[in-house]
Symmetry: C2
Subunit: 204 residues, 2 copies
């Protein structure tokens, strides 16, 4: 099999999802850093690989690419312990993945990007304010679910946990107070004890 190549940016939670899963799967990969704060995803060369100009981007074999972090998680986890085989359980995993991209990431990850990656909290103050309520709503929904579930789907660690963990565990860097969510905090600790866990700051 060809060695996978991952185009990624270390602080990215979306990229971290893929780094974490590949590491937990024990799959070797080549890691290529693309600095999104320097518009390196907007060069003609990068756009020829992903016309949407975003990382993470997985090169499966030379010239064969796959974009969208949660599509990559689905692709890599198929047939492994990280994705249930049952059809309805798999659909529930997908429900969480779409929830993450639509109702969670645009508020929590974006706030973190402005505040902690770009360091421009003051410049983006009003926009950050607007992200507060929907971001807390997403965390509230997770908290309610995790009150009675040890993991998001099927009471075991799956890519649904990886996808939601990526930006939830660093939500504080976006100004969200996780101490309000004890069940999320306990779940974060459970994720961190999974075998072959790596942190989001772990250099590749």
């Amino acid at each position: 099999m060809e060695t996978l190549r991952l185009y990624d940016f270390l602080p990215s939670g979306n990229g971290y999802k893929i780094r974490l899963l590949l590491t937990q799967l024990g799959m070797p990969f080549e890691w290529v850093e693309v600095n999104i704060t320097k518009n390196e995803t907007r060069t003609p060369e990068f756009l020829s690989k992903n016309p949407n100009g975003k990382i993470p981007l997985l090169e499966i074999e030379p010239g064969k690419y796959l974009a969208e972090s949660n599509a990559i998680l689905m692709y890599l986890s198929e047939g492994t312990e990280f994705l249930p085989y049952d059809r309805y359980l798999r659909a529930q995993v997908l429900q969480w993945l779409f929830f993450e991209q639509y109702s969670h990431e645009p508020f929590i990850a974006t706030s973190r990007y402005w505040i902690s990656i770009l360091g421009k909290a003051e410049e983006y103050r009003e926009a950050i304010e607007q992200k507060r309520e929907p971001g807390y709503a997403a965390l509230g929904l997770m908290e309610n679910h995790l009150k009675s579930h040890i993991f998001l789907v099927a009471d075991r660690y799956t890519i649904a946990d990886i996808a939601l963990f990526a930006y939830t565990h660093v939500a504080g860097e976006g100004g969200f107070d996780l101490t309000l969510f004890p069940s999320i905090q306990a779940w974060i600790e459970r994720v961190k004890t999974q075998s072959r866990y790596i942190s989001i700051t772990q250099e590749m």
Copy 2:
């Protein structure tokens, strides 16, 4: 098999995706209208079915629910002609589904909602302005792809087409000018000629 029940709102493109696929699959379903403009997705009763308070919501059997339109498309299309069997092709379908929810729907569907469903173009003028550039970027990406492909994935009609068609073909109702995108327009006509096609305004 139990009869499927779909909680939906007729003008919703996300709901239309499911109506269209179920009809094309020839699967009977019970249709329950939930008026989102009257906050009917925010009642305690509806929130007990979907804590995220959104339609479409599919009741697979009594008390067993599935939310997120694109997760529902994946669930229903598995093992049918609407989802490729090949692993990389399926991943490409998912790539388009996540693109739709992250880079397309929040701009194009939201503009249409404010302008044509709520009829509040003036009130939301500034917000609509901000959706213009990313909305056109999404349409531009689709146009480029459809210049050399008759459908989005594998040169055949799949749920990727259903997911992107839902809000693209009514983008004009959100103030986007589709005459700028001839390849999208030709693709829209191809989708409309698929067997058992129904329109977004077709009463259930």
